[in-house]
């Protein structure tokens, strides 16, 4: 479960303080598929980054599984990001000097254990449909292929939470459909998904919609029952 209590994030934009996330209190229950929609600059990415412990709230608290994540030391916070959360960013987030398979294995190397094995990495690449690009470097991949490898990477530690920031942005319709199908499948397996999107069509596939306006969150209309 992800809980935000009175979470606020402000930035100094040079022209004054900007409240990217403004006193947000919300709960995302285990197994939910939540879509976050809103105009550009409304604070969607900042909200998801707060949920993933990528940025510290200026005030308020973020709880994951009942733990206030900013009370954790650096090592345990890194472990939480590595083991419990999978990130999928809106841009190419692969490490340029590693090939696809090594990019996929990277989070497992930080988490330790056996999950970073070649077989598992290949299996994940197969899941996202890019096994033939296992040895390819990011520069040799198309945008869609890069996004698929990034999704495979986000799954390597079997996270219970997937935070996806416009995972299908700039992709063709077929790839977009494939990725959404993948997310639906993950959600059906119990993975909590929070997905930022500009697309009302994609948001409609989530079980719950949150709409952000100027840093504030309002509940949207749940259009699809995921059955989880």
């Amino acid at each position: 479960m992800i809980e935000l209590t009175n979470a606020t994030k402000t930035y100094d934009s040079g022209g004054g303080l900007v409240r990217a996330v403004d006193d947000v209190t919300l709960t995302v229950r285990d197994g939910e598929f939540v879509a976050v929609v809103g105009h550009s600059g409304s604070g969607k990415t900042t909200l998801v980054s707060l949920m993933g412990g990528l940025t510290k709230p200026t005030s308020g608290n973020i709880f994951i599984g009942g733990t206030d994540i900013w009370t954790l030391d650096n090592l345990n916070l890194a472990r939480l990001r590595s083991e419990k959360i999978g990130f999928c960013f809106q841009f190419s987030s692969l490490i340029s000097t590693l090939n696809s398979i090594d990019n996929v294995r990277l989070p497992a190397s930080f988490a330790g254990g056996e999950r970073g094995g070649l077989e598992r990495a290949m299996s994940l690449l197969e899941t996202v449909g890019v096994t033939d690009k296992a040895k390819a470097y990011p520069a040799e991949l198309s945008g869609g292929q890069q996004r698929r490898v990034a999704i495979a990477r986000s799954l390597v530690n079997e996270p219970r939470i997937m935070l996806a920031d416009e995972p299908t942005g700039d992709l063709d319709e077929q790839t977009e459909a494939d990725i959404m199908k993948l997310f639906q499948g993950l959600n059906q397996q119990g993975v909590t998904i929070v997905m930022v999107t500009h697309s009302q069509k994609l948001a409609a596939q989530a079980g719950r919609i949150l709409t952000m306006t100027a840093g504030a969150v309002a509940e949207g209309i749940a259009t699809v029952d995921t059955g989880v």
């Binding site: 990528l54 960013f89 930080f110 990477r153």
Partner: protein
Amino acid sequence: MVGIDPESDFTIGPWLKDNLGRPLAGDEIILGANAHIFLGKSESKVGDEEYFYGKKYTVAGIMESTGIGIDDAGFLTMDSVYDMAKISDKSAVMKLDVQPGDVSAFMVDVMPDATRSEVARRIEVEVPGVAVVTSKELMSSSVASQLDSLMPWLRLIGIVFWVIVVLMIGALFSTIVNERRREIGLLQAVGATRRFIFRLVMLEAMQLTVIGGIVGLAVGAVAILLLKGVVASSVGIAYLWPGSGYIVVFVAGYLVMSIITGILAALYPAIVASRLEPYQAIRTGE
């Protein structure tokens, strides 16, 4: 030709020990690097046979080039010189006028804590008729005194250059860290700890400076090999390779200095990199 006393000689004695591994025999000669020219040959080789004043000698060794007069010399034992002189009136075109017991110079090995000028003064007082020159004078007093006065400045310039290098590498790594903010943020997002990021930057810096150090050593070695003759002949000082032990210590010290340079230069950028907030690093690095 220089006759030496094998029992007490300390000038080419160490060379003989390292290279020949035994005392010089009475019918053997060690040649300087350029002695072959005076023998009218394009080169001399170990094992060559040469005649001096009618006495046959076998070349037992050829010394490294030093850039000074001993390159033109041949070294043999004093007894051998006396024998050569003895038979020269019959076997040579010109008699060699050297009598048994004749000595042209004594080399004095001064204890490390002794003052050379004081030793020289006492020898001149206690052994009348002897003129003493100290090693500095032998080496060329002008060069020695110039080096003495220049060394503090050379050290200072070296330290200033080193500080500049540390700052420049530091600036370079600050730029690298800045350009890789997104990658650093991404690594943190997938589980890298601050310690990992710190070590990553430090290791890259050390890698770079060690490679730079090795390249510097190689360039320096090539430059010395190419230019040692020119430098030695222009200043009139013998160029001699230091012992292998010294070279090992120098190379190890140089590489350690390279690593220290890398550590100092990358310390601040590594701290900055490790303290980046993942979200900000990713956003500002886009």
